[in-house]
């Protein structure tokens, strides 16, 4: 179950720090608003009853300066606490004297595509899409490199901390960390074209052991000769006859294109189409039947598959565990 108001329900030290700052500024704002609106309402209610010409007061420098003290103090205080937090949350890795970034420190590479997220673990070589697995750990921060393959997107998991834009030709960095296990909703928050609304992803924070298990099973190049049902075998044949491999990868097979999401472990994913629907065989059939009906404008065309081919493909894709 996701949080209802994720910004106010932080689940990482980074998000907590931002939340604390937010609540503090909210409080200051509430006080300022109460004072200003109170003064205005008093002035109005008293002034409405007055019916003599008021004193023609042109103002005084002294009172201007006096009233300026409050805003000045608030501004100085806000500069201090924001600057402190900006420095604390900085995730840019060490830069060598030659200006090169040390990429060994990168735990995760997230690449925005129209309209899905490619997720790569450079240390283990695991590649997936629209979901990120993390060990829930108070002490381990993942350094994430965020970039884009096409237009500008923005990577945002409200409960886990700040957002950062995914910009083509540019490497941005951010910390990702979850204090406690759970699933956290992520979204693209920079307008990126027709299907900006459906460019969601989820972060699954699991125990250390679960994470290692997950990583190990993702690493297996899948298409080990596995016993396929006749239907699935037919689906596999059709997969390679049709245009599927021109966009998708299934590791261990001839399909190695990177235009669409990697399908190596597709059947284990929880959602289809970057959050449009849950990943069940029935929904998968619905998706394959016409992706444009579920996600109008997405890059996967309507292939007008026959019922037979549809069943075969679903059977095959369901074996990609």
């Amino acid at each position: 179950m996701n949080s209802v108001i994720p910004v106010l329900d932080p689940a990482s030290p980074q998000a907590e720090a931002i939340n604390d700052l937010f609540l503090q500024v909210l409080l200051i704002s509430a006080v300022v608003f109460a004072i200003v609106s109170g003064l205005i309402l008093i002035a109005i209610s008293r002034g409405r009853r007055r019916d003599t010409q008021p004193d023609q007061n042109f103002g005084s420098e002294r009172s201007e300066i006096f009233w300026m003290i409050g805003p000045v103090v608030i501004v100085i205080w806000l500069v201090a606490i924001s600057a402190h937090l900006i420095i604390t949350l900085n995730a840019i890795p060490e830069v060598a004297p030659d200006g090169k970034i040390n990429f060994d420190d990168v735990d995760l590479i997230v690449t925005g595509h129209q309209w899905w997220w490619e997720v790569k673990y450079p240390k283990s070589g695991v590649i997936t899409a629209n979901e990120i697995y993390l060990p829930a750990d108070k002490d381990k921060k993942f350094r994430v490199l965020v970039t884009s393959a096409d237009v500008i997107h923005s990577f945002w998991v409200a409960q886990l901390g700040p957002k950062i834009d995914a910009i083509p030709g540019r490497d941005n960095f951010i910390w990702l960390q979850a204090s406690k296990p759970g699933s956290y909703q992520g979204r693209c928050s920079e307008y990126c074209g027709a299907q900006h609304a459906w460019m969601n992803f989820k972060v699954y924070a699991v125990t250390k052991e679960e994470f290692q298990q997950w990583e190990a099973s993702e690493k297996q190049a899948t298409e080990q000769p596995r016993l396929l049902s006749p239907l699935a075998a037919a689906g596999k044949k059709y997969f390679f006859q049709a245009t599927c491999p021109r966009c998708h990868t299934v590791q261990g097979t001839a399909a190695d294109a990177t235009i669409g999401p990697d399908l190596t472990h597709f059947a284990r994913r929880k959602e289809i189409g970057a959050g449009v629907i849950e990943n069940t065989p029935a929904n998968l059939a619905l998706w394959l039947k016409n992706p444009q009906a579920l996600k109008p404008g997405c890059k996967m065309p309507d292939f007008k598959l026959s019922e037979t081919n549809l069943k075969q493909l679903v059977a095959y894709l369901e074996t990609l565990k």
């Binding site: 924001s82 834009d165 609304a197």
Partner: protein, 754 residues
């Protein structure tokens, strides 16, 4: 400065004419009041269009997974809604009010340049029409009102919508800048005797600040638009990261324009509020100098905070802190204003009519928008909430809660002056409550939607807990605002027909526009009243309490300056920003050392061609011709002043010849490069080189044409020695073009700054 249409308009008053002639009167008018009304009416029309677009979007978002609009349609609608509200409603309605009231408030008979004024309006009018023509082509712009690249580049927006957007904005931009130059020159030059700059009404002061902002901020947008258009039409790669271009440069340029644009919209609102509150508190404005000075501070700071729109871009912590400091500092001058408005109300004899209702709502809502603005200036909070519905709520609190409410307040305040009749107060209060309720319903809940994780600009959303309810409330609020607007229109029509007769000064107000009839005659004032303080009409009506007896304000020393030169200088100030930003783009793209942290530095994407292909010596020689032409121009100016006609004609002819020789050199250079296969779409060097030198060449050509006109005038004897200031104004431009070339030559040919 007469309009030439005085007799005609007297005729219309005497005998009713056929409608077509009256229409033609309006279309051909040079009267600042009529042009002002045309601006306002066009803006109101587009307010209806933009509002209708918003309503459609709110219907789509009222329910989760709604299919009322397709994603393509929704994306076009929010792009057009934003563009319309900023460029087709906000700016023109303010220009309209400025046109109508600035001359009246400073005791002038018209604006400085009535023809330029009319030109500016029609540029706006046709630019706006062109933008909306895109709907008929089936592809309105759909890249958002700030059209971020690469989404707006040809690769991702292949339809013509973005092209209409670019051309429309460029055309309207020309109108805006000429309008701003006109207002600027009017305020500087045409103030009535006695009205020193420290005595102008605050609305006039704010319009002066706004004119400066427009003159200096719009060229940043123009330079970005020019580069995007060259990318889209000629295949260059300014904004294409796969060919070494930058996706971030657009954002910098857009917001260097875009942030001052916020103040372009809100400063006049401040000005209106600063007129309304004192009149209905029966007191002078509290702390005039502080309000005026804090606006100057806002103008200056406004240019240094653009990157607070880009905190999520990852500019690095030092840049983030720098822009956070700048943005938070703006809280101080803004706080000063709020304090002074409150202090003006304090102890006043409050006339709580519709106009003041809107002004008070402005104050409270603007404070909310300002406070959420402070939240965004605290960078980490921005990292959470930017690009969500929280930011949508924030800027609508500033622009609707602030600006639109100020406009309604001003409308109720000034309608009697413009029409001679009062608006109905009871209908006004009804409209007020519909708007306050509707506005806060729509936008207050959006703060929560943002915190609940709803990104802005999504065409639909999943049925997350609470989202449907809050979005439903927002949609209902929008309906209230729409009804409120209809009530307002009803009030206008009813009052035009049968409203109470206003008389010259129904509010016992303070400033000069109330010293004439309602509506004012074509030449504004029969006699311009004496100005001895900031409230001349108060002084006349309340001689025993006259301001000048109590509060001393700086005397008018009578300095007004030269109209032609002021216009020329403000025009080249605008041009200078344009060239400066093109040159910055050249330096950014042609400096190898520049590899900011985070930018993927791949040497192979840098330019293959460099400035080494240029023949520096040859161009250097041609540059000497151009620079010499400045000298010959100066000589020509001396001869004109001395009245030596033939010497003048000779040296001016020589100037033109030198300019043409320079252009010939440029043609020679271009031909050589093109024949070697180096064209604007080759790489980043060639793109920046051709763009900078090409725009310069266009300017030299325009200058040569202007000089040629001067030559013809000289030959015909129309350019007498008394008219040297007109010639001098052309000279300001010609020298400017030479100075730009010196910078271009230094940076591109000699490689300075690289």
């Amino acid at each position: 400065m007469t309009t030439g249409s005085v007799e005609e308009s007297q005729l219309t008053m005497l005998e009713p004419q056929p409608t077509s002639t009256r229409m033609l009167d309006w279309v051909s008018t040079l009267d600042h009041k009529r042009i002002g009304i045309m601006y306002i009416l066009t803006a109101v029309f587009y307010l209806a269009v933009g509002g209708f677009e918003a309503l459609l979007m709110r219907i789509q978002l009222a329910f989760p997974n709604n299919t009322f609009l397709s994603p393509e349609m929704f994306n076009q609608l929010f792009t057009m809604h934003g563009t319309t509200m900023v460029f087709l409603v906000g700016m023109p309605v303010l220009t309209g009010f400025a046109n109508y009231f600035v001359p009246l408030m400073i005791g002038a008979r018209d604006v400085a340049f009535p023809r330029l004024n009319s030109f500016g309006f029609w540029m706006f009018f046709f630019g706006a029409a062109l933008l909306h023509f895109s709907f008929l082509t089936g592809s309105a712009p759909n890249a958002g009102w700030f059209s971020y690249v690469p989404l707006s580049s040809k690769a991702y927006s292949s339809l013509q919508g973005v092209d209409y957007w670019i051309i429309g904005l460029l055309i309207m931009g020309i109108g805006s800048v000429s309008g701003a130059i006109n207002i600027f020159a009017t305020i500087i030059n045409l103030r009535a005797p006695g009205m020193s700059l420290q005595r102008v009404p605050l609305f006039v002061w704010m319009m002066l600040m706004q004119a400066i902002l427009i003159i200096l901020a719009l060229p940043a947008l123009n330079s970005a638009l020019a580069m995007l258009l060259i990318d889209r039409w000629l295949g260059s790669a300014f904004f294409d990261p796969t060919r070494g271009g930058s996706a971030v440069l657009w954002q910098h340029y857009f917001w260097i324009f875009g942030h001052p644009e916020v103040y372009i919209l809100i400063l006049p609102g401040f000005g209106m509020i600063s007129e309304v509150i004192p009149v209905f508190s029966r007191k002078p404005i509290y702390g005039y100098t502080f309000i005026a000075a804090s606006s100057v501070a806002i103008v200056l700071l406004g240019y240094g905070v653009w990157a607070h729109h880009m905190f999520a871009v990852g500019l690095g912590m030092y840049a983030d802190i720098f822009f956070a400091v700048g943005s938070l500092l703006i809280a101080i001058p803004t706080g000063i204003k709020v304090f002074n408005w409150t202090a003006t109300l304090w102890g006043g004899e409050i006339k709580f009519n519709t106009s003041l209702h809107f002004a008070i709502a402005f104050l409270l809502q603007f404070v909310i928008g300002g406070l959420t603005g402070i939240m965004f200036a605290a960078v980490p909070i921005d990292w959470q909430l930017t690009d969500t519905y929280f930011v949508v709520a924030h800027f609508h609190y500033v622009l609707i809660g602030g600006l639109v409410f100020a406009l309604f307040s001003a409308a109720y305040y000034w309608f009697p002056k413009m029409t001679g009749r009062m608006l109905n107060e009871r209908i006004g209060i009804l409209q007020f409550w519909l708007w306050v309720l509707g506005f806060n319903m729509t936008f207050m809940v959006q703060h929560f939607l943002g915190m609940m994780g709803m990104p802005r600009r999504v065409y639909t959303y999943a049925d997350n807990p609470g989202w449907a309810l809050l979005n439903g409330i927002a949609t209902l609020g929008a309906v209230f605002m729409a009804v409120g607007t209809l009530v307002f229109l009803w009030n206008i029509f009813k009052s035009l027909h049968s409203g109470k007769i206003a008389g010259d000064n129904p509010w016992d107000a303070f400033t000069l526009e109330w010293a004439t009839t309602s509506p004012p005659p074509p030449e504004n004032f029969p006699v311009i009243p004496e100005v001895k303080s900031r409230r001349p009409v108060w002084d006349i009506n309340h001689p025993e309490y006259a301001d000048w007896k109590k509060e001393k304000t700086p005397e008018d020393k009578g300095r007004r300056g030269n109209l032609a030169k002021i216009a020329a200088w403000s025009f080249i100030a605008s041009e200078a920003v344009f060239f400066l930003l093109l040159l910055v783009a050249y330096v950014v793209f042609n400096t190898k050392l520049m590899a900011p942290v985070g930018e993927a530095s791949s040497p192979e994407t840098l330019s293959d061609v460099t400035s080494s292909v240029l023949d520096v010596k040859r161009t250097g020689i041609f540059s000497l011709f151009l620079i010499t032409s400045s000298l010959t121009f100066w000589v020509a100016e001396r001869f004109l002043k001395a009245g030596k006609k033939s010497a003048f004609v000779f040296s001016l002819g020589l100037t033109i010849l030198l300019g043409i020789i320079f252009l010939g050199g440029q043609v020679w250079e271009y031909t050589g490069l093109l024949s070697n296969g180096i064209s604007i779409n080759s790489d980043l060097f060639s793109a920046t080189f051709f763009t900078v030198t090409g725009f310069h060449g266009i300017h030299v050509t325009a200058g040569v044409i202007a000089l040629f006109v001067m030559l013809l005038m000289g030959l015909k004897g129309n350019l007498s020695s008394e008219k040297t200031h007109v010639f001098g104004a052309v000279g300001v431009y010609w020298h400017f073009v030479d100075v730009v070339w010196i910078a271009v030559f230094g940076i591109i040919y000699l490689g300075l700054l690289q």
